[in-house]
Chain length 402, copies 4
């Protein structure tokens, strides 16, 4: 379903933009200060002018300009720089997707349209200091119905972009009873009374906007519920499914960047002086990084194809997320190793990528949780009486609407 | 290029045949005795009757009924039993391919046509006791031109199917000078005077027809040269490229079989008694085996697509071969581990598959050699001034004719 | 506690005997036929004459001539050949140890003394076709008390040496109630009425005496119970603890043999022709194999030290068993890989060692079960309120008598 | 050779000091600001008062108070905090060792004695921006003999402690000709004219004193040469040998800390809520971390024993360095994974330890270089005609004087 026939041209254009405008300024962008924010905003304007902004944003009516499969090579180009997805809108496309599917007229007007113009920064407030991420039942955030509105009380942490977000999608319990019917997604503007930015939370020493949030008696109008109240679990799964794929797509781009940098170093004068190209241990690194990327890309494409066809793809998504995460970690590790101490220093973008890579094993589900779930799901798909097809293990699971 | 529109039906038919006729008789087929040979021959007749024989054989005029990409899912079904490729003709399709492209009229008549009818068993005589497999220059086999024919002297070992072959494709030096122009492929009938079956060479205790051959002053007519004399290296590479892919495709089928057997055990009464499905270490095995298969399949499909388009695919082929080999080894290892001692005994097909899997790391190029070559080729493809495309790293290398 | 000051001389003497008398005849010894049995018996006589037999046998009064720590380097020499432990008595020392500690006067006279003279072959009958190895509660073998004797009914499989054993130590339920008090170890001569050798069970195609046994209404005198009736679980743990260590010690010797063979190949004319010593991937294999051996030896020594001091050493034993098993598997795999197809053929002892190595991951506890237990035990040892000492994690667990 | 019978008491005393005084203040110590430096200095004074400072410092006459083997458990306690070795003098003991062996009277007076009192901070200036670390021949630093003194010109980078060092040991070429006789170790006070602190070089975003140094026409008196001019390579190897061991000993302590923190988390209320102790994937992590530590400790002890006996131990040292580095990386990675995002944040010391762990694969020799060298050395030790002893592979190499 190639909705946008021009997408083949889009990837190289994104690549050019990233290479010319973003890569040269990564050190500045990584500085986590006001100058960095100003620079990012200015680059975003340039990206809009160059037609490489919001590449996976749905139209306001919810139609998608590209299939996910078509977007993958574009996402890989966006992903080459840690900073490009935020600048090019890639970071916000998940929220745009959720809003375009589940927001009512008021929310569309207030959040979706400005978001599509790149005028709003969203964040997603799920994790809590005192709950277990993989066990939603341990969540303590809740909103009390007051007859005509909700009163939200929640503490959330490690929320990406929290420091610069204009609105937050908050997960909270809105009813007693079984979890499947009692969680909801609430939209809260960050200038609401009772919203509080508690503190930044650096990850491996990098402070890039993530932090802890407090929602204290925040008033939430009933129209600010995404979908219906009580649909939280279903919406979370939907969000998580696409979210993991989008992240994986960007991580793979970052891994390709590491591969390129690794090869560039081997071919550099320093690399030639050390005769790196002749060393089998170097070649083995080059091989493994490339193999990992190629294999992960295949898994990602499978998952994206199913998404585009509206088929259940939980198995494929989780395989792709784990593979992209491992691939990125191994790629940056090898690139650093070939660069030596320089690769760990501020002189090299690898220093940031290395730290970014580590977070991927925790973000959106820890490795162990995903592995255990995948094993369980595969065993369930192969249970006696079920027909298991290698190409589409999840076909036999329940379908989600497209 | 879907030459054969019926191929979608072929895979399930092959699967049925393998499941109904071959899997139940694997213990007998693995016995390496006369009864096994008789049984295999009888099953081959049944396969011909059922229309599941010679699935990747070219037509006599060289056209292929299926693209390689179309054949992959069929090969995966053939590969579910170690014994099926020999019975269904999968083992001979590489020779059929080489003969259909490079044999002259006489060779076609004498070897290709009977081969396509399943009446001849071919073997490929390359490895030598005193040479290094990865260094063709160390080969000592040679054929001397006698004015009107060649006199071949060669000792070859670890030749698959040597014990039951009707003819051999022999690599020998036919001229002095640079290797690129001095090796040739000679066809020798195994009833030629001077041909000698020296001894069987079991692999991990299994004797399945492979062994050592001696060619002592064997007369080879000039028409028995494949292609042209001196083209040996080029033909070897061509053969190796397709050969590795075909093997990888079969190995992946065998890995899928192991996955199925592993899951079946988990769901069995014994597995339920031990509560295997609840154990995370079991789930992790299920996950890893499935992931490996899914990833390797993607790599294999990439390589096959390029083969079908006549593009250079050395990088993709070697990635796929290594991945299929690793996948099979890990899959059978996990399946054995879940089965326990039973999985190592004659009561289980895994005992044979485990040993088969070990040979894949040596056959058609050792892991280390392939890894080193892949690293070198990737570095060459990314050298300064070259444009590297992740989707098709080898596009920038020289193309081979389709 | 150096009971035997001569032990330093013993290791080199064992090494010489193995190198001169056993290694050159491994192909014959591996043939699994009568000639092999005759040869093994004759070599055992030579070993007795040379004073290298029964190196870890206790004296008849139960004292040990060597500490386990002192025996380790001797066991490593015995282990260099798969066949040496059986010939030199290493295979029987575990039974000798159990009998010397737990047998009454009659059993000592009837079984221990002839065993110490090398005149009896013992076997240990625990695994059952329908039970889960790691869940003793699933065992179905049982012995019914008849007022003055037991009537044993049991089916046991994958019993090592079953085919040539003179007596078996059989685990069976002798009472109802909690398992800790209801299993017993019964000694049964293999010429007892009702004892039946059901069938051999080859492992990876090798038939070396292991198989399936049936005990049908076998009469067992009350004096034929080891220790006391009901002590089965405690005795099994004792046996398993020392048994795993003895096996690990022999496996490490076999791994050292593989390391030596690998290096020998690198230094051989073939290895020089292929310039193996210059290849980093070869060097990396040499490094890893050596590192694994050195690391596993350290773990084994820790476990042996605790055994000699009579301290609980379950954690150390299981670490050592897993490490020795992994080490052997990786060592033989690398040695095979460097040898190429030859290493998998009957021309090389590696073919047998490779298959032996695979069984070590199942024998005496599967990897997954040991890993899960180790994790549990380590978490238990580090629980709040307990003092954890890295050098001796198990010191805080209950001690067993020396 | 237990010179100091009290060393058994020292380890627990160091442990107490680290636990009570250093661990609670790690966040402050890691801040890389003036307050951190002041705090460290004050803690150092406390350590001196508590008798836990300079634990491996030689006496002024060069005798060692402890063998290296005796120091290992003490170093493991020092290593529990990243910051403890600097505070307790562990970071400076290598310089103290080199000076006590190779410094002349003047250097002893000027540098060694104040160093032993903890009044001087040393640094070691070897790496250069334009040379390959593993190829000393590519070094460009040089000192020109001026008749009565040397004139040193050098650029060095990634020099630990450079920012707060009082003197530097600089490697420079002092003669033409073969490298073995042309490098020297020069001592330079950091207040010498021509010494310049170019810039700090953060590692993974942490700035802890390492940076780039310039030596521009620095005058070096002939007495400021360590050992003799031209002995540089020999002294570097000596320094590197002990240096790697000392670092490995500290890293192992840090890995033990991670193990403890991991277990603590499992036993915490959050861990119990998530039922971590029952999860096999958690248990497998606990097992692997403990096994790695236990194995690495054995390798380290072997290397230290040889050091104490004055035997060549290059193989053992490099094995131990690689093992400690891998162990630390895997330990902190698992601890982080169990902690989740919290483990990556400033709320946890793991955030710093994770970054520290990454540097260990590059510091003092990259993994690949060490692995390749180890493979080469092991092959050399097993060459035909040499007797290889598993317990002491390097015994057959040339001995160095104690």
């Amino acid at each position: 379903m190639p909705i946008n026939p021009d997408y083949l041209q889009l990837a190289p254009r994104v690549r050019s933009f990233v290479e010319q405008h973003i890569l040269p300024r990564e050190l500045e962008l990584g500085a986590c200060n006001t100058a960095a924010a100003t620079l990012a905003a200015s680059l975003q304007d340039q990206a809009k002018a160059a037609g490489v902004f919001g590449n996976f944003y749905p139209y306001a009516d919810g139609r998608r300009p590209l299939t996910l499969r078509q977007y993958l090579p574009i996402a890989a180009e966006e992903g080459r720089s840690e900073f490009a997805p935020a600048i090019l809108g890639g970071d916000a496309s998940l929220d745009a997707y959720m809003l375009s599917r589940h927001a009512n007229a008021e929310l569309r007007e207030r959040y979706l349209l400005p978001l599509l113009r790149g005028e709003r920064v969203p964040c997603y407030a799920m994790s809590e200091p005192d709950s277990i991420g993989s066990i939603p039942a341990t969540m303590t955030s809740h909103a009390q119905w007051q007859g005509d509105h909700w009163t939200l009380n929640a503490r959330k942490w490690f929320i990406c972009r929290a420091g610069r977000a204009d609105f937050a999608t908050v997960i909270a319990r809105t009813a007693d009873g079984p979890l499947q019917q009692s969680l909801s997604m609430l939209l809260v503007a960050t200038d609401s009374p009772g919203f509080e930015w508690v503190r930044p939370l650096a990850l491996l020493g990098r402070q890039q906007g993530q932090g802890e949030l407090l929602f204290k008696d925040v008033r939430v109008e009933p129209e600010h519920v995404l979908g219906e109240a009580g649909q939280g679990i279903a919406l979370m799964q939907q969000r998580l499914g696409l979210g993991r794929l989008l992240r994986a797509a960007h991580w793979l781009g970052l891994a390709q960047r590491c591969f390129d940098d690794l090869c560039k170093r081997v071919h550099s004068p320093r690399g030639e002086l050390a005769r790196l190209a002749d060393k089998q241990l170097v070649r083995a690194r080059v091989y493994r990084v490339f193999r990992d990327i190629a294999a992960a890309r295949g898994l990602l494409e499978d998952a994206a194809d199913k998404f585009d066809r509206g088929q259940a793809n939980a198995i494929e998504v989780n395989l792709a997320k784990l593979a992209a995460s491992e691939t990125l970690s191994a790629a940056v590790d090898s690139a650093v190793q070939i660069m030596g101490a320089e690769g760990l220093s501020d002189l090299s973008p690898l220093s940031g990528i290395y730290r970014c890579a580590r977070t991927t094993h925790i973000l959106d589900g820890t490795d162990d949780a995903l592995i255990s779930n995948l094993g369980r799901d595969l065993l369930s798909a192969t249970a006696p009486g079920r027909t298991f097809d290698y190409r589409s293990p999840s076909l036999s699971l329940d379908k989600v609407a497209p």
